[in-house]
Each structure stands twice: as C-alpha cells, then as structure tokens.
C-alpha cells in the first residue's frame, strides 16, 4: 500500500516549521500584526499563540517602523526573530531598518554581530486588492546586498526553506505568494498543496529546482509563476514543444549555474515573473545566461512579466496585466519558431 498522504497548504507548512523551531530553540519568536490569536491574516501562524503564548507570539501595533527596528535589535542581541510584514507593499515605512540596519550591520561590525532575523511577507495579486496590496517587489529586495531572499512555490519548499531561514545567521526575506497559501478568498492554487514530512528538514537556500524536464525551451519562474509555467508546459506538449520548467526558489543567492545548464540544453529561455518587468528579476535571469556564453542561445530570450504600471484594482484590468499560461505559451512558441 502506498504511504499515507500528508498534504499541507503552504500556510500550514509555514506554521509547522515555526512551531518546530520554537520548540527546539527558545530564542526563536514571532512578531507582527495579527499573528497572535487570529493566526495571521494568511493563516501562517495558526496555533502558535495557543502553544507558545503572548511573549513568544507577539501581536504588534500597526507600526512597521517600530517592530522592524525592534526585530533588528533583538537579532543583533542574540535572539532569532521571525517578523511578519503583512503585505510586502508596506515596506516603505520600515525600509531603513531593513536595508540600512538589518542587511548591513554584520558588515559594519566587521563580522562581529550576526543579525539572524527572518522577515516573512506576502506577495502577489490576482484577487482585486489594489495596487498597494498586490505587488511582488522581488527585485526590490533581491537588488540590495546583505539579505538572502527566498520565494517558495509549494508547501514542501515552504516548510524546508522557512526552517533553513530561521537557522540561518544572515537575515532572510521570506516572500510567500498569497495565492499559494490555501486561503480561498485569495484564489487557491491546488498545485501548491503537496505532501510534507512531519519531521524537521531544510531546503538549502540558493538551489533552484527543475520541476518539469524538457528539451526545446527553458521556462524560468518563481512562486505562483511556477504553476502558470507548469500549465503552459502541458499545453505546449500538445503542440509538440517540450518545455523545461525551472523553479528559482531563491533569488539571493541566485542559482545561476542551474539556469545556465538548463538553457545550454534547450537553447531557449523564457522568464516568467509577476514582479515588474523593468530593472528586475527577469532581466537578471537573462543576464545570468548571456553574460556567460551567448553562443548557447538559439533565439533571443523572452519575458512574461508584470507591465511597468501600478497594479489595477478592476478585475479585468488586473487579469489582463498578470502573467498566465496563455502568455507563456505564446512566448515559448515565439522563441521556438524564431530559429526555424
């Protein structure tokens, strides 16, 4: 008989990672808006308050400026805070603490002070929540040195990468897409709810994964985009095009070798990113290939990214702007036909 299933949503996988690390290490604590009795607006801290109490699962006032600064101080003083920035869009009021203090203090102190903080923050749209609750901003955080940046696409990676992030002595930005959480009102991507071991494990930060193998074109994506890409790969298969899908999993460190090796095999590259197109992740992924060896390419790389506009509230306008499987199929057909 097959082993019994143990599927978890990303939200439950995150809560399990935190609770297990909190049992193992009393320096770990959670802080943020509505992370306590409510269990987090995205469900990812459910059960923690009941088990660990208000000292270790701390509801904060609505002042990211204050609690992000407090987290940096606690981390520098030897604790291991996990702080929730409820929507990544709110980073503006606490960015000094993040990129001038958290990201740099290890360097400024000559390596004498670690800042082992985890900032978990929600990304992404698709459910008409407006332009200040729907952004990804992956590139904004990945651009700034001194922080690791991870973006899980499923519950297995969500647990393993959060465990790795909590144990990491560097600050880690843990960016989870709302549509992968298993919360119905945010739209639910069924492919993110996968089997998860109950015991603790880590997923190494900085290793990409090939989630579907192919030989005609490489689709590189992250987070929700991985699921759009897998749907696109299935549609392309019907058209006789074999697409390989690479899940970046981490933006810092970026697994450039993995990207390069896949594109070397297929000769073609399409990058799918729900963050804004210009000056961001998609350009960096393409640079990872063309800087190393342009001769492996059989066609110019293509991008399916968010257009450079503030995110619309209106349903039809937002859906028009988002990446989807159909856009990825079109881009892949363009690169696979352009050499023939």
């Amino acid at each position: 008989m097959a082993a019994k299933e143990r599927k978890l949503t990303v939200a439950r996988a995150m809560a399990e990672a935190m609770s297990q690390e909190m049992r193992a290490d009393e320096q770990v604590f959670v802080m943020g808006e509505d992370v306590g009795p409510l269990g987090g607006v995205f469900g990812n801290t459910r059960g923690l308050y009941e088990e660990f109490g208000k000292e270790r699962v701390r509801d904060t006032p609505i002042s990211e400026t204050a609690f992000m600064g407090a987290a940096v101080g606690a981390a520098a003083d030897g604790m291991r805070p996990i702080v929730e920035l409820m929507f990544v869009d709110f980073f503006g009021v606490c960015f000094d603490a993040i990129y001038n203090l958290m990201a740099k203090n290890t360097y400024f102190s000559g390596g004498n002070i670690n800042v082992p903080a985890v900032i978990m923050t929600s990304t992404g749209g698709g459910y008409s929540d407006g332009g200040q609750h729907s952004q990804c901003l992956y590139g904004t955080f990945a651009h700034l040195p001194g922080m690791k940046v991870v973006v899980p696409s499923n519950a297995f990676d969500a647990k393993g990468m959060l465990t790795a992030a909590i144990r990491d002595n560097s600050p880690v930005i843990y960016m989870f897409h709302k549509g992968l959480q298993g919360m119905g009102w945010l739209g639910t991507e069924a492919g993110a709810t996968v089997n998860v071991p109950e015991e603790q494990y880590t997923v190494e930060i900085g290793k990409a994964a090939t989630v579907s193998e192919g030989h005609d074109v490489t689709i590189v994506s992250l987070g929700m985009g991985v699921h759009h890409s897998l749907r696109a790969a299935a549609l392309l298969q019907e058209k006789g095009v074999s697409a390989e899908v690479v899940d970046l999993r981490a933006l810092v460190p970026l697994d450039r070798d993995h990207i390069f090796e896949s594109v070397k095999k297929t000769g073609r590259l399409v990058v799918v990113d729900e963050d804004y197109q210009s000056y961001g992740v998609s350009g960096e992924v393409i640079a990872s290939v063309v800087e190393r060896d342009i001769s492996i390419l059989k066609a110019a790389p293509q991008r399916v990214a968010y257009p450079d506009i503030p995110i619309p509230f209106a349903h039809h306008m937002e859906q028009w702007a988002l990446p989807n499987a159909e856009k990825i199929v079109s881009a892949c057909l363009e690169v696979t036909h352009s050499d023939g």
Partner: protein, 85 residues
C-alpha cells in the same frame, strides 16, 4: 465476507453562525485515499474564516464536492467506505 457501509462526510449544521454559503478551499487527501477517523480532510471557508472538516470514520474516501466548489451547512461533501470483516 466483507461488509461495507458508506458513512457521509457532512458539513456540521452549526459550523458557522451566519446563513451563508462556503467554499471548499483545500482537500488534504486525494479521492480513494485511505483515511483514519479524526484525520484532517478538508478546509472550508465561510466569510473569510476557515473551518476544518475531519474524518468521521476510518475507511476509503470518495470525494463528491471538489475544491473551489460552493457548499452549505449540512451538505454531504464525501463518503467514507467502511469495511468491517
């Protein structure tokens, strides 16, 4: 000789107070999977609050209402085939 009986997996009529529809947000097990009594089977969301549905018996699950479909209190969303031999 094996006797099989099917037990309904129902949404309790008192799971939430308001008279509103809900949606199945997650099935944690696949159809035809073996489940044990008390296992978490599904999450159902009403008015942005999620509720857990657990297995009322041990046996083989047969899902009748899929993820993202609407449900009401009292609905049968699956059956569990219980064998006693």
């Amino acid at each position: 000789m094996t006797d099989e009986t099917a037990q309904a997996v129902r949404i309790p009529v008192d799971l939430w107070e308001e008279d509103v529809e809900a949606v199945i947000t997650t099935w944690f097990v696949s159809g035809e999977a073996e489940v044990d009594q008390g296992d978490l089977l599904a999450e159902v969301m009403a008015e942005k609050i999620q509720f857990e549905i657990v297995a009322p018996a041990s046996g083989i699950l047969n899902i009748m209402v899929q993820q993202d479909e609407l449900v009401e209190k009292g609905d049968t969303i699956a059956t569990i085939t219980v064998s006693s031999n």
